[in-house]
Every structure is written in structure tokens, then in C-alpha cells.
Point group: C2
Chain length 305, copies 2
């Protein structure tokens, strides 16, 4: 029994209205596996880095009980690097640099010890690679969650649709749901996307929270209103990792558990944006997480008399 996270492990350089960073560790699998590790102690990652990747961060993974056997380290090569600049509203950003490096010919090799995977998180990556991972698992996991983005809708729609067909939960943002479905109404968009394969759809709405569709039901989760969003990088990956980590912890796949998983994922994401990169989510305590989840409870609770 384990939770397998696939995605990028990489370097980011980030500029926000609050400051800028040098190269810091980022990547979808980084954020997602760290977030998941707060709920589940059998998280394993499949990813690729160059030998420029800091050994100290691999130790951070291991300190979080994250198994890095599937983390390929390519000698003499460089890790994937992304650099971006956020606008004042923190909702839009410009990509300044994208260097694929080791990611260009990433072959996701699944170590034999990972074949006990019951929960699979497909972090944002080429849909073809995401699909390869599903195909290489001898036993279909109990729950497959896939994150993706508009970029793949633009350049690899057929691959994307083929991969979407194979997953249980798809997580995308509202603009992406509209693009993928061709429907403006999110209810119509969700209904259409749920005919494409996934049984559940999570629409991420940033500062407006998230919507879960599935089993003919809808759940609306709030986002925590924050004084400041310091750096949104990785918030979506952190959300997805917290979501599947919580699902792995509770162990049974149903709408009620998914609602809670969304709250726990949102809580983790609300920490993520408080500092640059992984700075905040690499060092959380269970008490901090529990207190943050209680903030979500009091934020959205009402009692109709």
C-alpha cells in the first residue's frame, strides 16, 4: 500500500510584488508529495532531476518519509527550470524562462517496490508521460487523481483526452474547465467533463475556493481569505497532494471523504502561499494544520433554524 506521486521536481526562480528568489526547489511532485506526507507516511515519488539538484532537499523528502527510490538523478545533466513573474493581482503571471533539461526525455521508470501503489497522483506533466505511469502499474490503483493545465489543452489535446479517460479525479481551474468543455457555466462544463471519463471533477478557483462535482452532487469549498498571498507557486500542487494524501489516510473513496480531503488540501495550499516556494510547507506541524482546518470550519459553518 502506497501513494505514488509523479510530476516535476525542479528549480523555480520567482518574482512577486513582494520580492524575488534565486533558484529554489519547486515542481509539482515536490509540492504534492510534501503536502501528502502530512497525512500518509507511504508516499513515493517518480521524477527526474539533474545532478545539480541539492542532496539536502532529497534529505528533506526522506525526513518527510517520502521514498525517493523513483527519483532519477541524471549525471552531467541539469534539472528542469522555470522562472516566472507574478503581476500585482497575483492571479496572473508571465513565464520568463522554461528550460526543460532532464524533462525533455523523461521516461518514468517505476521501481518494483512501487507496484503496491493504491493511490496515484499524476502531477501536471505531459499527458503522455502521465498515461505511461498508469500503464506501467501492474494493478490499477484504487484512486487515480490527475492534475493538468491549459498548456496541454493547447498543444496535446488528444493525448490529454486519452489520459483523462483513465483517471478517477481530474483537478483543473475554472478557466481550464471552460476551455476543455467549451461551456461557460461551470455546472455545464462539469457535466460535460464528467462524460469524458473521470468520476469526479475538482474545479480550483484560487481565492474563490474550489468546487467538487461527482455522484450527482456538488460541494463548494471556500478559500481562506488571506491578508496577503506572498507566492502562489505550487498552491495547486499542494492542494492536490493534500487532497490525495488525506484520501489515502481515510482509505475509502466517497463524496463525503472527498469533501474533507478538499478542505485539508485547501488548508495546506493556504500555508503554501504564505512564503516563497516550499519554505512554509516543508516545516508544518500537525497542530498548525488542525488549527488551519478549524479556520475553514468556522469560515463556512452556518446553522439554519
Amino acid at each position: 500500500m502506497s501513494l505514488l506521486v509523479i510530476g516535476t521536481v525542479a528549480f523555480d526562480a520567482i518574482e512577486t510584488p513582494f520580492g524575488k528568489t534565486d533558484k529554489i526547489v519547486g515542481g509539482a511532485a515536490t509540492f504534492a508529495s510534501l503536502a501528502a506526507s502530512y497525512f500518509y507516511d507511504k508516499v513515493k515519488i517518480v521524477a527526474v532531476v539533474g545532478d545539480d539538484f541539492p542532496q539536502s532537499f532529497i534529505k528533506d523528502f526522506n525526513n518527510h518519509t517520502i521514498n525517493t527510490e523513483g527519483l532519477q538523478i541524471k549525471k552531467g545533466e541539469k534539472s528542469f527550470f522555470w522562472s516566472g513573474k507574478y503581476h500585482n493581482d497575483m492571479n496572473t503571471r508571465d513565464t520568463l524562462v522554461t528550460e526543460l533539461n532532464v524533462l525533455a526525455d523523461f521516461d518514468p521508470i517505476i521501481p518494483a517496490s512501487y507496484q503496491d501503489c493504491e493511490y496515484l497522483m499524476l502531477g501536471n506533466l505531459t499527458p503522455q508521460v502521465q498515461q505511461t505511469v498508469i500503464n506501467r502499474l501492474k494493478k490499477r490503483p484504487k484512486l487515480v487523481v490527475m492534475d493538468t493545465m491549459n498548456f496541454w489543452m493547447d498543444i496535446a489535446l488528444d493525448d490529454l483526452l486519452a489520459t483523462i479517460k483513465m483517471v478517477d479525479v481530474l483537478t483543473i481551474n475554472d478557466a481550464e474547465a471552460r476551455q476543455l468543455s467549451g461551456e461557460y457555466s461551470l455546472v455545464k462544463a462539469a457535466n460535460k467533463i464528467l462524460t469524458m471519463g473521470p468520476k469526479y471533477l475538482i474545479i480550483k478557483k484560487g481565492e474563490h475556493g474550489a468546487l467538487l462535482f461527482g455522484e450527482g452532487k456538488i460541494f463548494a469549498a471556500p478559500a481562506l481569505p488571506l491578508e496577503e498571498v506572498f507566492d502562489p507557486t505550487g498552491a495547486g500542487d499542494t492542494f492536490a497532494g493534500g487532497f490525495i494524501g488525506y484520501m489515502a489516510k481515510v482509505g475509502s473513496v466517497n463524496f463525503a471523504n472527498m469533501k474533507n480531503a478538499i478542505i485539508f488540501g485547501s488548508a495546506l495550499a493556504s500555508f503554501c502561499v504564505e512564503k516563497f516556494g516550499t519554505e512554509k510547507i516543508v516545516n508544518l506541524t500537525q497542530e498548525e494544520i488542525a488549527a488551519r482546518v478549524q479556520e475553514f470550519v468556522s469560515l463556512s459553518k452556518f446553522e439554519i433554524i
Copy 2:
């Protein structure tokens, strides 16, 4: 004891992607008083129309137990008229025609029988007129709710700030909260606006729900995800009317009651957008409203174990 609603009673001509109307009855006080009437049977309006305003609609008000003694009918003059066209996303619109007509020199006369007002809804209007109404009430109402819009921030900011200072609850949308405060973060915006006078602030976020700030607390209400928004005209007024109507019904002003009032207001608003103008909210049953409120409950309820 009564609930006084002031605002426009007017004609609208609306064009949406779904169709267009001739002149139909609209106006902030129309939507707000109808919405409030589902919760409270002592709603009274102060507004002005021309003698082109249909007697049959005044009957509709009265059938809703809305007192129209304060509805001035100006002989030989025409009612306020607004015409607008919504874009495909239904969130933005162009104003095609604005004819002030009787509204140009509206003097809000308060009938003596209205002086028992305990709840005052200041629908969107010139802030100067809203302020006049507060000043003409001999006894300060228990709860004063004020709706306004960016237009007054642009052309009458000083009057607006003077009026805001006198109210208990301000309702504006997220863009307006940012404009009024000069802060992008809604938490910072709210904190700043709460130093301007109101004890509570409701930030309306359309399809993303609403936020209530006050007593050092925050409540996030979801919006009901709808397959189709047919016509958003009057949704904000309907929300505000449902809100204050529910507050008048429960009779005690506190955060917990306001949370429920927001849910009831949101439920009414979700009906409003299903048809053109007042078509839907003029003919609701208590059973329909209760069922819709239950949809909000199941939409946002979760139980953390």
C-alpha cells in the same frame, strides 16, 4: 415596527445572450422589497415613479403586503429607465440608455406612518438621497443596510463616505471593495472599510458567493452553481432585500443571524437570475425558498472527523 426600503422603482430593458425584453419593471427598491416580503410582512417603500408606471405592479407590491404609501407618483412625468446589454459571460454589461426622468429631483418623503422603521434598506441611489432618508427618520433604526456601486465612488466619493459612516452594514462587490479601499486583498480591503463606519461589510462575489466581515470574524457563503444565469439584473438588490428581510424576521442583530441572512439572501438571488427581471421572484412559495436554502446547506456542509 417596519422595514423601510428606499431605492429606484423603474423600467428596465434588458438584452442577454438568451433574449431581450421590452420595458419591464425593475429598480433596486422593487427587487429588494419583493425579496424582503418573503420573510417580513411590514415592508414599506419610499420611491418615485411617473404616471407611466403600471397600476398592476403596485397591486403586486400590495399583494406582497408591501406598503406603497411612500411611492410618489408624478403626474405627467416618466419613470426612471435603464437599458443594458449583457456580454456572453453574464458578468459584464454595457449600459445602453439611462433616462433619469423622475429620479432627477427625487425628494424622499417619509410618510408619518413610516416613522416606526426599525430596519432600513438603502438601495443603490445617490448617496445624498440615502443620507437624507436616515436624517428624516426621527428614531435611528436598529439596523441600516446600504447598497451602493462604483459609479458613486467615481462621481460622489465625499457624499458616499459621509453616508457610509452612518450605516451598520455595507454591501458592495469585490471590485468595488478594492476601489473603495485601494487594497487588492479583500481581507485588507474589508479591514479598511470597517474603519470607515460600518460594523459589518458584505462583499458580493457573484458566482463565487459572498463574504461577511465583522466582529473580527469572516463568513464565506457559496453561490449556488447554476446551469444558466438567464438575467443577472436585480440579483444584488434581491440579495440585499432577502438579507434585511430575514434580519427583520429574526429581530436580533448578530453575526450568526447575519450568516443565515446571507444564505437566505443568496437563495432569493439564485431565483432572481433564472428569469428576466422580477418574473421569478414575484411568484415564489415558502416551500421553494426552503428547498433552495437546503441546497445551500448540502452544497457547503462538511464534517471533519
